[in-house]
Amino acid sequence: MQVLAQLIVSGVTVGMIYAVIAFGYQLTFATSKTLNFGQGDALMLGALVGLTTINFLIGLSLGTFAAYLLMLPIVFIFGLIQGSVVEFLGVRQAIKTKSEAGWIMATIALGIIFKNVAENIWGRDALRFPSPLPEASLDVNGVRIQPMEIAIVLGALGLMIAVEIFNRRSIYGKAVVATANDRDAAGLMGIDTRLVITFSYALSSMAAAFAGVLVAPVTLTGATMGAALGLKAFAVAIIGGLSSGIGLIVGGLILGVTENLTGYYISSGYKDVPGLVLLLLVLSLKPAGLFGKTAIKKV
């Protein structure tokens, strides 16, 4: 029983990371029906920029916790800029010419370029990220929980709730939702929908960068850390549905927990299989996702 609980706890943590990255996919899909397939690389870049920043701040004899907090806004700003660059270089033209696939290749290409750049700046080795919280685990009825794991869950939920509140309460957030509802009609309201799409890309990469510095202290940081996370988060986005916030969290948790259970009870070699089988099942039985509304593309 304790082993099971332990597996679930770590599954929930990694599941929340998937959910935040998938949330980023959802943000751009809502406004532009396009995705940044370099989302995993946005996470990796965020983590590495965060690493350099936090080490610099610690070098100024700041405590790790204070340095981590000060680092966050810098990583956020970096993510916003990085996402805008992706939209500007890879997506804008494809949307303008109504290209069905141009943005797919363009965002994958940008992701590879970002990875190469990161390898040249930070090297190919995995680097340790200083943990802002004590690394000793708390013992809850025999289940060990790292304080950083709690921070991951709270941080992930916090980010998603903050964006949701922004969308519901502020006029700018309403403009984003309006653009997602009906881009032409939003334009008639005086909303610059192209800017809204750039903004959704910026926010999407910011979410990924945040996920990067959340997960970095419990894993390791490096140029290759993003690829698998980005792909699995994509599976989560499909499983949960690209239109449902709750779907992402549920999808993330399902994938995170089944991975851990399979890894322990069956074989770590099969760790990735159940999630992907679930993905295939969802695609064949409920293509809009577990929580998505069915949308039939009119031709």
Partner: protein
């Protein structure tokens, strides 16, 4: 207030408008009538920047707005209540109305009192007041039409374009829509109205234009058009 000269526009390689000229004077209601496919909706779409005109000029209050993107044109004071209502289904009635005032709330148009204007809209369309917290997607067709018109009015526009506000509505609601338009006219709202109910539109309008195959085939004060034998025969039916 709004002047369209020799407007040419279309979709891709298909040219729909072959040189349209329309003038909408300040405080007047001008209607554009014609059969399906004549190019009425395309005219409005080109005027509000939803499609880019390939030739001609559009002036709003003397400024050339030809080729501007639709959000810029809206910020300059032209509101367009589009064909098919196009309300934002996942947002509440109130939020839809606030989005109509987006340029005012974000500083690209004089703010004025948006709260008071919201109340004014609820006065003009009492049904919307009852449903103010409801999602726009759950409204009936008639209510959505009221919402689309109210949303456009929230801009405090210099010119209001109305595209087929009666489309798909029950006869009783059509009457309601026209009486609302008459009330807006009394308030000196400058309007360009596209309608399939030609007789009712000419009844309420000051001037009319008749469109045929992407060209203006007749125009004049609406009283005059109502008595024009050719217009009568083609659009008004024998009863008139």
């Amino acid at each position: 207030m709004l002047q369209v000269e020799n407007l040419v526009a279309g979709y891709g390689k298909v040219q729909v408008l072959h040189g349209i000229s329309i003038a909408v004077p300040q405080g007047k209601l001008v209607t554009l009538i014609g059969s399906n496919g004549a190019g009425k909706t395309t005219t409005l779409r080109a005027v509000s920047g939803m499609i880019e005109p390939s030739a001609g000029t559009i002036r709003l209050g003397g400024d050339n707005i030809t080729g501007l993107p639709s959000h810029r044109i809206t910020q300059r004071g032209l509101a367009h209540s589009p064909e098919g209502r196009r309300v934002f289904p996942t947002q509440s009635v109130t939020d839809n109305l606030l989005l109509g005032a987006f340029p005012r709330l974000t500083g690209s148009r004089p703010k004025g009192d948006t709260g008071a204007d919201l109340e004014k809209m609820f006065e003009l369309f009492p049904r919307l007041k009852e449903r103010r917290e409801q999602l726009a997607g759950t409204l009936s067709g008639g209510e959505q039409q009221m919402l689309a018109m109210a949303r456009a009015l929230m801009l405090n526009p210099d010119v209001l374009l109305l595209d087929e506000p009666s489309m798909g509505l029950a006869p009783k609601l059509v009457e309601e829509v026209f009486s609302t338009i008459a009330r807006l006219k009394e308030r000196k709202t400058t309007m360009l109205l596209v309608e399939q109910f030609a007789a009712a539109a000419l009844e309420v309008a000051d001037f009319g234009y008749v469109m045929e195959n992407g060209r203006i085939s007749a125009s004049g004060p609406s009283a005059q058009l109502r008595n024009d034998p050719a217009v009568k025969a083609a659009y008004l039916g024998a009863a008139h």
